[in-house]
């Protein structure tokens, strides 16, 4: 349609999502209609959103003002390049998830437990629409409305199966932390309007126009870091994430981990680079430090999990940590006006957002298929699923390789860019920063390697080896819709992996918008197939060649071997060391696999272990790994609040004489004290 601006199209997209959701209420129990008609429609709408965003990248920002909102503050919307990158992410990734969901919600009693499919459909599409609005919002009110609607709809999605107390608690924790975070964000906006005596203009344009002192700028940044960090899962407000992701149905986990966490990153970028209007170098250090801690923490805990979705959730924490590291690095470079390098780091951030959205959604969806096929979430009861579920298994492999940050898939590109960024940090004009920051690269490297460990554990224990439970033999592969969704995301992961140049050329508009400088020139100079952000002599990466080489060697080698020798295969039992009772139980359990990590990094974990003794009639071994933060932070806070409450409830002691006395004393005090 000519004359229809991208922002209008996106508004129509949001409305379409809402309409699709509402259509779910027409026949709330008609699973077939909802799954086969509405969810694919939602996917289609998502693709439209993605394409529109892709098309609008590089064009000037568009704004719109809606007739709704507060009387003095109607909804302001704005589609600029930063938003467009994230809308692209939202549209493309959610399309895959929606397609998958069309197949996932097919079973009555599965996925839709407790909540009618129609209601689920409403919540799901409301969630999508609110995320889109978060990305488009251009004033604090619209942003907060969209932000909290997003939290709310995802909360309902998380508690879809609300019959389990654990799921309810997870939902509660999630919404509570989201709310606390939202409060911090609101405060941050307030500070950015100038606080006391400020303009009080809550449009983003007003915030941009506001000149803040360094102190208040820092306050705004730290509040935003806390608020968005609470949504993204940064330490120490990460605790909801490993609870909520496993509790939610898999498409929802995928959407939350893949897309929703990125909206928090979007918000942080929006505030730090666009709204607050200044950058101090130590902000970067704070973000970097928190990011490193988060990444380390996330990956450590990911390796020791025994629940597949919890493992992925902790892995998300790790990835968000890496993204925060990237943001920190960008801030540091930006503060010293080293814009080319800041652009490098920021590209790494944006790229990792895209990459993580793709592969983590893919992995969560794979766990969904596994869950469907086996009704099992515990790693200790899975195994050998590559046999019955080859589609899921091979696509999961793509996700795992990307998740481990290995070439030639998507996760590697961003880690590579990030490390390249670190290589330049010794050039920082600050005496100790230029020494300390490169060391952070060592931690990033450690995190990446540990992520590999976690991913191998995840994949090996679920899909490889022997089946640990006999019931797994009946597992079936994913249905056509689910496959389509998985293939979509798998393809995305591959594309992001092998075409970094092309993609960076597109998303560079956002970098240029935020920093005034981008990588596009360099990338365009060296050709679309090559990624050389500075110059090919300095560093280069050609994933397409890389992949082609390995595939060619693989095929050529196979052809040659068959040609020169033969292709004969014989089957026999596995070698049993002469011990005939080797069953599936001889394999490593999930706990066993991560035992070295637990042993090496023991102080990081809070463990409760039970060892069998000789006298046990039914000997067993168990280990429970808990988060230190519960005991260091959350329980003390909860206890303090409870203590205050107990203290205060004494005021309501039931005696009317005492109540009268309150009134009496208040009156007398006011009479004596209150003077104008």
């Amino acid at each position: 349609m000519p004359g229809l601006l991208p922002i209008d199209t996106l508004l129509i997209v949001a409305c379409a999502w809402l309409a699709i959701g509402a259509a779910g209420l027409v026949a709330p129990r008609n699973t077939r209609f909802i799954a086969r008609t509405l969810f694919p429609l939602g996917a289609l709408v998502g693709i439209v959103a993605g394409l529109v965003a892709l098309g609008s990248l590089g064009s000037p920002a568009q704004t719109a003002v809606l007739a709704i909102g507060l009387p003095d503050l109607p909804f302001h919307l704005r589609l600029d390049n930063l938003s467009a990158v994230f809308v692209l992410l939202l549209g493309i990734v959610s399309a895959g998830i929606s397609i998958y969901a069309a197949g996932y919600f097919r079973h009555p009693g599965q996925g839709g437990q407790g909540t009618a499919p129609g209601v689920l459909c409403v919540e799901y599409h409301l969630f999508l629409a609110s995320m889109l609005m978060v990305l488009l919002a251009d004033d604090a009110y619209a942003f907060m409305v969209a932000w909290e609607t997003m939290a709310l709809s995802s909360f309902f999605l998380v508690t879809t199966d609300h019959r389990h107390a654990a799921i309810r608690q997870a939902g509660y924790l999630y919404l509570l932390i989201a709310h606390v975070g939202a409060i911090a964000i609101l405060l941050s906006f307030g500070v950015m309007t100038g606080g006391v005596g400020g303009s009080g203009d809550y449009t983003f344009a007003g915030m941009r126009a506001q000149e803040l002192s360094p102190f208040w700028g820092s306050v705004a940044f730290l509040l935003a870091l806390f608020g968005f960090g609470a949504k993204a899962g940064l330490l120490p407000v990460h605790v909801w994430l490993p609870e909520a992701h496993p509790a939610a149905p898999s498409p929802v986990s995928a959407l939350m981990s893949g897309v929703m966490l990125k909206t928090a990153i979007y918000g942080l970028l929006r505030v730090s680079f666009d709204l607050v209007g200044m950058t101090l170098w130590w902000w970067g250090v704070v973000a970097l430090a928190i990011g490193l801690l988060t990444a380390l923490f996330g990956v450590f805990y990911a390796t020791v999990q025994s629940d597949m979705k919890r493992l992925l959730a902790y892995s998300s924490i790790e990835n968000i940590g890496l993204i925060a590291v990237g943001i920190g690095l960008t801030l540091i470079f930006h503060a010293y006006a080293m814009e080319a390098l800041a652009a490098l780091a920021l590209t790494a951030v944006l790229y990792h957002c895209l990459a993580h959205a793709g592969f983590k959604s893919l992995l969560f969806l794979c766990t969904g298929s596994v869950l469907h096929a086996t009704k099992e979430r515990s790693l200790g009861k899975l195994g050998g699923l590559i046999g019955p579920m080859p589609w899921v298994a091979w696509l999961a492999l793509a996700g795992v390789i990307a998740g481990a940050g290995l070439p030639p898939l998507s996760g590697f590109v961003s880690e590579w860019l990030l490390l390249q960024g670190f290589l330049f940090s010794p050039g920082l004009p600050h005496p100790w920063l230029n020494m300390v920051v490169p060391v952070a690269a060592a931690i990033v490297a450690l995190v990446a390697a540990l992520a590999g460990f976690a991913m191998v554990k995840f994949y090996g224990i679920i899909f490889l080896g022997q089946m640990r439970e006999p019931a797994l033999k009946d597992a079936h592969d994913a249905g056509p819709w689910e496959r389509l969704g998985l293939v979509w995301l798998g393809g995305l992961t591959l594309l992001l992996g092998v075409l970094p140049g092309t993609i960076i050329l597109r998303i560079d508009a956002a970098t240029q918008q935020l920093l005034g400088k981008g990588l596009a020139d360099r990338v365009a100079e060296n050709g679309w197939w090559m990624l050389a952000p500075i110059s090919p002599e300095r560093a280069s990466y050609e994933p397409l060649l890389f992949l082609a080489f390995i595939v060619a060697t693989l095929l050529f080698g196979r052809w040659l071997v068959r040609r020169l020798y033969h292709g004969r295969v014989r089957r026999s039992p596995a070698w049993d060391c002469g011990y005939h009772f080797q069953g599936p139980r001889a394999q490593d359990t999930a706990e066993g696999f991560s035992q070295p990590i637990r042993r090496i990094f023991e102080p990081m974990f809070r463990m409760e272990r039970h060892f069998p003794t000789l006298r046990d009639k039914e000997p067993y071994y168990s280990v429970k790994v808990e988060d230190h933060f519960w005991y260091w932070l959350y329980l003390p806070v909860a206890r303090a609040a409870a203590w205050v409450s107990t203290l205060i409830t004494h005021l309501q002691g039931g005696r009317i004489a005492v109540y009268l006395m309150y009134s009496f004393v208040t009156l007398i005090l006011l009479l004596l004290v209150a003077r104008p």
Partner: protein, 319 residues
């Protein structure tokens, strides 16, 4: 970047040379080790015989083996060939070199490691998973150490492209970089671990409790085993070449310098020969560690690498 014919031929030659030389290097190390340990040495060409024999044999697959198990040897082999293709052994004029810089090289090794660990877990025997777990344990410690070694060098050279590193280092006046010394020690330790050598692993053992590499490939046979063994040789070759490129880059031919290329071949053989002997020496005078000493060993390597980087930043940035 132009794809000159000479460059392409040089690249092809480097790959063929790697494929050919790698088993020889393994044989040489084995022979040296036998000499040092006072036992009769196998023939120098023993690895070739073995590969030939294995390729001839039927593949015996366990019942539970999946398609991943069968694909893994090819992937691993492909990764190692790629690694050898981009590490300058003779010449820095390698058209494939921009495909992956030193960081991506670490990624290639990581990819191979993930596949071999997964393949080890695939059959579902106790050894396979044990091997996979230990391999990943070694990997997550060795990989960052290697990365930091490369980082240190890259900081000196201001590039992560291996070819540029070699060119720059070879052209520089001889300056003693203390950081390079640290990095070199760390690199050696990492190489030992990565190539399943004593003191972290013992390539010659099949004693169950100490195996790492062998535990994973226990179920492989025939051409699959041949490819994996060949890939292991290639890995050793690649690491050796990488070490040479990073720390002894002299003699590697540069672009469009045909004569130097000819001179580079004997020089490479000489350097590899010395390197192989030293490796055998290290393996002889050390004893295999307990598996839980390995993290300490690699932790030390990691620490040395970071220390090297710090030294670079502290001392040499001022220069």
């Amino acid at each position: 970047m132009t794809f000159s014919l000479s460059g392409f031929l040089g690249q092809l030659f480097a790959i063929v040379l790697a494929l050919a030389l790698a088993p020889l290097l393994t044989g040489w190390v084995n022979q040296c080790r036998a000499w040092l340990q006072n036992r009769g040495a196998p023939p120098l060409l023993q690895p070739y015989y073995m590969l030939h024999k294995l390729f001839h044999k039927d593949v015996v697959l366990a019942h539970g083996a999946s398609s991943l198990f069968r694909a893994a040897p090819f992937v691993i082999f492909g990764c190692m060939v790629l690694a050898c293709a981009i590490i300058p052994s003779l010449s820095t004029d390698l058209p494939f070199a921009p495909a992956a810089d030193a960081l991506a090289l670490v990624g290639v090794f990581g990819l191979a490691r993930v596949f071999i660990a997964l393949a080890g877990m695939d059959i579902g025997t106790s050894f396979g998973t044990l091997g996979g777990r230990r391999e990943m344990l070694v990997g997550f410690l060795a990989e960052p150490a290697l990365l930091i070694v490369i980082f240190t060098v890259a900081l000196i050279v201001q590039s992560t492209s291996v070819a540029t590193i070699v060119e720059t280092l070879a052209h520089r006046d001889f300056i003693i970089y203390p950081s390079l010394a640290f990095a070199g020690v760390a690199f050696t330790m990492v190489s030992l671990a990565e190539n399943a050598r004593v003191p972290v692993d013992n390539p010659a053992t099949h004693l169950e409790l100490t195996m790492i590499h062998e535990a994973m490939i226990l179920e492989y046979s025939g051409r699959h085993l041949a490819l994996i063994e060949w890939a292991a040789s290639l890995k050793l070759y690649a690491y050796s070449c990488l070490g040479l490129a990073l720390f002894f880059p002299w003699g590697i031919a540069e672009r469009d310098n045909f004569l130097a290329l000819l001179a580079a071949i004997p020089l490479l053989l000489l350097k590899l020969g010395i390197g192989g002997f030293l490796l055998a020496l290290i393996e002889t005078i050390n004893a295999k560690m307990r598996i839980f000493r390995a993290p300490e060993f690699l932790g030390t390597a990691f620490l040395l690498a970071v220390l090297g980087m710090l030294v670079k930043l502290l001392l040499e940035n001022r220069v």
